[in-house]
Symmetry: C2
Subunit: 212 residues, 2 copies
């Protein structure tokens, strides 16, 4: 029997190394982010993973399930990275925590452009996948961020800026830039990542947000 997982269920039941399945997931993350759901074919994903196409339907009920698992995978990594960062900052004041979390997010975005690319590719009108993505992954992070920044504003630690603006700066200026690097190169022959290290970019965003 295939190890069927529901689209929303995190992959935690079998912790052992399942390298073939993982390779398929990695290939799916890559191709879905590069070409969107409709633009990526299961054969292409299989080829990149070095397996045959029917194997995808063995490990995942359908292409749609595979997409959900892939998104679960990449967003799980993000959540884990952020949690680990917070965990390592017990006792530190919330302002410093916020600064370091934003940095962590930018670093992750630079290292995993697939994450923002997938979001971008799913920005379709009346898209069910986008609804799921927002509900399950984006909103939780968004609300945590907003509540953290709201506390900092109330405490007078940072200037009072609308929460949506904060989020816009972080995700937009802070992360999407890395994703749009290829388009930037296409347009102006200029790649932001070549001229500016991630750390420098993180500095800019931090200054923008925290005014320091």
């Amino acid at each position: 029997m295939a190890s069927q997982t529901s689209p929303t269920a995190a992959r935690t039941t079998r912790p052992s190394a399942d390298s073939t399945r993982d390779r398929i997931l990695a290939a799916a993350v890559d191709l879905f982010s590069e070409r969107s759901f409709e633009g990526a074919t299961t054969r292409e994903i299989a080829a990149r993973a070095g397996v045959t196409q029917p194997l995808l339907n063995y490990h995942f009920r359908s292409k749609e399930h595979l997409w959900h698992a892939a998104v679960e995978d990449i967003f799980g990594e993000l959540t884990q990275a952020l949690s680990a960062r917070i965990e390592g900052l017990r006792g530190v004041d919330e302002l410093s925590v916020a600064k370091l979390i934003v940095r962590e997010f930018i670093y992750f975005s630079a290292a995993h452009p697939q994450l923002h690319r997938i979001i971008m590719q799913e920005c379709k009108v009346d898209g069910a996948r986008m609804d799921w993505l927002v509900d399950r992954h984006i909103r939780p992070i968004y609300e945590q961020t907003v509540s953290l920044f709201t506390r900092l504003v109330e405490r007078g630690d940072i200037p009072d800026v609308p929460a949506t603006h904060i989020y816009y700066v972080i995700t937009g200026a802070g992360a999407t830039m890395f994703v749009l690097a290829p388009e930037c190169r296409r347009l102006a022959g200029f790649d932001p990542l070549e001229h500016q290290a991630v750390e420098v970019h993180a500095d800019v965003v931090t200054t923008l947000l925290f005014g320091s």
Copy 2:
């Protein structure tokens, strides 16, 4: 014989009203922007235009040609709108022209979110359509904008900001916001267009760019 047009040829040979063809083009612009090239089917486009599917292949050689014609259409409207604005400003100083052109661009973006949506949907890795789109439409506008702003900077009319930053503010903050309104609503139950008139948003961007 079908009125075949090459993908890059502007539709200027037959100026008379061709309402069916125009309805197909409008439907194509809508659906390509809502669902991307691969996500939109020719049958769906035909249905929205109120015609049968084979008619698309009569007016356009292929789905790819239809996409090019649709992009040609919407970007042609933009170019025309900007040109008309410039035409009506003969003799006006370049700083005022720049301000009004930026406004015009934001108004157009708000009225035609399909334009930025199409760009967004074609942000794929190694996408031939994106290459064409940048070469034929985006770069010309980009270079014109940059050269205009460069002159203003040299003249000391506006603060010295890197050209790419200028373009980023205009297109990013200025226009993409309207396109991402559905996602904004999805995420935070907040639609920027409901809370903020286009004029107000244009004010914000203008202030950001021209510091006045």
